[in-house]
């Protein structure tokens, strides 16, 4: 580990830039949620002195608004562009039959194992053409693309990726029938992948 590792530890506080409009909306939502939580907590006879969770939504951008990114995490403009380039005008289906397996907590962001898999018959008329793997907050969002053929037999690819910090990882599957599938997984990263800093 050398000095070019600029953020060896993910700060616990979430620092992010919020646009004025989102700040106002988020603030209003935070107050509303805080009141609801407080009411619920009082009803349950709990201690209400606990600070409520940070519920201000991150700025929604055109492309990322099409997939369910985690609230409270930022995503890069480059990610938005990469996502838009892949999705184009497709209507992505979220979740099944696409699965993205990742550890919830990655102690070493340099080596994070992943598996992208689709339940697909892999026949000549219905097979997974391409699997994309994107990171929302690495310096370069495009991690990998895998091109499959019906002979692959099983649409599943595993490997190891780098994550610079805690973020969402996004998998996209392009099926030969025209369907586009999306899966999002959040990974907490303790020590960021230096190579990507």
């Amino acid at each position: 580990m050398s000095d070019h590792c600029r953020s060896p530890v993910e700060p616990l506080s979430l620092i992010r830039v919020v646009s004025r409009r989102n700040f106002v909306l988020g603030g209003a939502a935070a107050v509303a949620v805080a009141m609801m939580l407080r009411a619920g907590a009082v009803a349950a006879g709990e201690d209400t002195s606990q600070p409520t969770a940070d519920v201000a939504a991150p700025p929604e951008e055109a492309a990322a608004g099409r997939i369910p990114v985690s609230s409270g995490l930022t995503h890069s403009r480059q990610f938005d562009e990469a996502l838009q380039a892949i999705l184009a005008d497709a209507e992505p289906v979220v979740g099944e039959p696409l699965t993205l397996e990742l550890p919830e907590l990655a102690e070493n962001g340099n080596v994070v194992p992943y598996t992208v898999a689709v339940e697909s018959p892999m026949t000549d008329t219905d097979y997974v053409r391409t699997l994309h793997l994107l990171s929302t907050s690495n310096p370069q969002p495009v991690v990998a693309a895998f091109h499959l053929v019906p002979a692959t037999g099983k649409a599943s690819v595993s490997g190891r990726m780098r994550l610079a910090k805690t973020q969402d990882v996004v998998a996209i599957a392009e099926v030969s029938t025209g369907r586009v599938l999306v899966a999002v997984r959040k990974v907490e990263v303790t020590i960021g992948g230096c190579g990507t800093e």
Binding site: N138, H147, V157, S158, R162
Partner: protein
Amino acid sequence: MTNKTRIKLPETSAVGDVIEIRALINHVMETGNRKDASGTAIPRNIVKSLVVTFGSVTIFKAEFGPGISSNPFVAFYLRVPGPGEFVFTWEDDAGIKTVERTPLFVG
């Protein structure tokens, strides 16, 4: 100079089986984002692609970005059409191609 590789296949398989293929290449996967001790940017050099053919048919292609860990490893599948030979071809930014040929035994 080519890079050291490791390929793992099942020792035996039957026609129609879906088998897992594991392929690894030793490579630094330098992202191009880092600087050396004197502050000079270290140029990017990653393995950018892996193409796998089986009996001259392309069965798998991977395009890698800098977000792939060093010594890139990938596991994928094939429905065995019969005996044959895999050819794995990796190419990095420096233009170095590493080619590995591995037979598949079917019995």
